[in-house]
Assembly symmetry: C2
Homo-oligomer: 367 residues x 2
């Protein structure tokens, strides 16, 4: 568990966000959409969640341009009961719909203590943890899940059925960054397979399957990934994936993940659902007690004796460290994405963001 | 993933429940407590969840008798906000407190769509899935979690910190049994280690640790188990365990799992917290749509192509099959537990439950 090193120019997050929003807007998205997408991907990149960071921006631009994702959707909210609401994404980007869900969820949780907000007719929203974190930054705890199209093999199965169906949970910490758990329920993201195809390194055992339904460590033969838990305990990962599909399909009104087909190969499907649970800590316990209990838990966890050369961390600690580093040194943009940025910026007549000087000598990497 | 064969007399669930309640009552528990414990353990045993079934009953009797768990607690409920409530378990058995939480949660969810119910000052409540299932049988979806004392090593750690911190999720299915996910966030329960000590078989790799902080497959050297995900991806299981500890400690007002010490070696600690989220499906979607989406999902999942000799199942399918078998043949009670029952029944002057005739020939086991 380490944040992978990204080789490429570094840009301040504050410069990257308007640049990405500008690309999206030039691609046809209206301002709220463009801003929400940029905010989500730059927030992910700023914390080292590079798989779901600015590398997705060119792909979102193409999605808007090709009208695969509606570039100017009318996102609407309806409160269905005192503690339940539904956001209709109108087949636009999932980012604005998801931020809206969190915002409405916080408002409701402030009234009733807890809110369950479903999102329907949405699309890919990047890193799910971004939205849970947005709630935590407002002082609320949030559990956020989304389903997706088929890439994960069910337990005992031979081909993909579930999406990577991530689960994110964030909770505000007094005088500190929120604790953020953000995990796919698959053993690895398919991005890991793609990366290993590029580097030629074999995959770990029991994380991927070939087209004949056999486990493989060859990234070039892998066409699906396994649920977390491996050959023996993958029913746990698959069970979580099933729970998430239920929360994102029957509860949102959408079809389950396996019914969702990407409109274009390589595109994410449109029409997916997300599910957000938002809770106000002070409704549950006096905030002083809540904060103390949480601080004690985190301090105790972080002080646990570690294996040689390792550290015991709380969920999200690595990203908090990386965020500090990137706030100082800038957000690295990988060379392929940077080339895409240059191409799109040229096409749209937009200025490239200013890059930051590279650090004078290599710095020790957070591991 | 198979339900382990239990060798011993078989008893109808309907006869087992009053017998177990009788033992508890003779041990000092009052009727509501005795009934709740019996209901919970027999419900688990009736569905093949034997690790958390009637084998725990003699242990609960001793807990009541020794006053480690308060045998006549005053369980109280307080509604803290429109959608939030808290059950105080008064240091009694977790079973009644948990059933009460689900009951109050269903009543609130019927009003506001969703309810978050915390339980504090509780104790071991058996199988967490029992309570999620109780809500689903009333037509509500339920996410239920509990923390526990230290037995699971955190990612990168060398000794136990988390409890097995199980997560259960149940959702009602029209014209069928509810879908029930009930999983520990550890790779295996410690009971698996105990069982392997008895059988002498080695453990799978990467599921257990010895006292020197090294992975071991020797059940006699294992003193802690690993989070689900193994050496590479155990941060996922540990992350879920952390989320559950937060929901069960800061949210309930209790200390986190690692602060909970069993009062007697082998006993579960008293003073733990549980967390229940209850949702009313019809608040989210028209029930006809909800039911259809869920049925489509389950049918699609169950019809997925399986590896040779296996089946793709939905969470809880094995237990539903086993429950049908046990409804016909009786609930098997392992010989050690049966001997405990005879000893306690003799001591309390209670009649043993009637056993059912063994089936004439071995039947094919659900796998």
């Amino acid at each position: 568990m380490a944040i992978e090193k990204i080789d490429g120019p570094r840009v301040a997050a504050g410069a990257l966000e308007p640049f990405v929003a500008g690309l999206l807007a030039a691609g046809g998205a209206d301002l709220p959409r463009a801003t929400a997408v940029a905010r989500a991907v730059v927030d992910a990149s700023a914390r080292g969640v590079d798989t779901h960071g600015v590398r997705l921006a060119p792909w979102y631009v193409e999605a808007a341009r090709s009208r695969v994702v509606k570039p100017k959707p009318k996102v609407t909210f309806r409160r269905k009961a005192p503690s339940v609401g539904h956001v209709d994404g109108d087949l636009g980007f999932g980012h604005l719909a998801s931020y809206r869900a969190v915002e409405e969820g916080c408002a409701i949780a402030a009234e009733t203590g807890v809110a369950a907000i479903t999102v329907g007719r949405s699309s890919h929203h990047g890193a799910t943890g971004v939205y849970a974190l947005a709630a935590a930054r407002e002082g609320f705890a949030c559990l956020a899940v989304t389903h997706a199209d088929s890439i994960v093999v069910p337990f005992s199965g031979r081909k993909a059925f579930f999406g990577t169906n991530p689960l994110a949970f964030a909770v505000p910490v007094r005088k500190g960054e929120p604790m953020v758990l953000d995990m796919a329920t698959s053993a690895v993201p398919f991005n890991r397979v793609m990366l290993r195809r590029a580097t030629g390194k074999p995959l770990p055992p029991e994380v991927a399957m070939d087209k004949r339904g056999r486990m493989t460590t060859d990234p070039n033969r892998a066409i699906a990934v396994m649920p977390v838990g491996g050959a023996d305990f993958g029913y746990k990962g698959a069970g979580l994936a099933a729970m998430i599909d239920v929360l994102c399909a029957p509860f949102t009104g959408m079809g389950h993940g396996a019914t969702l087909k990407p409109p274009i190969p390589g595109m994410q499907p449109v029409g997916i659902g997300h599910f957000f649970l938002v809770m106000q800590p002070s409704t549950f316990q006096a905030l002083s007690l809540f904060d103390r209990r949480l601080a004690d838990f985190l301090a105790d966890l972080r002080s646990q004796e570690a294996r040689r050369g390792e550290r015991v961390l709380a969920p999200g600690d690595l990203e908090v460290e990386e965020a500090k580093l990137r706030a100082r040194l800038g957000v690295p943009v990988d060379r392929k994405t940077w080339a895409d940025f240059e191409r799109l910026a040229g096409e749209f007549g937009i200025a490239m963001p200013e890059t930051m000087a590279p650090p004078r000598r290599p710095r020790r990497k957070a591991t």
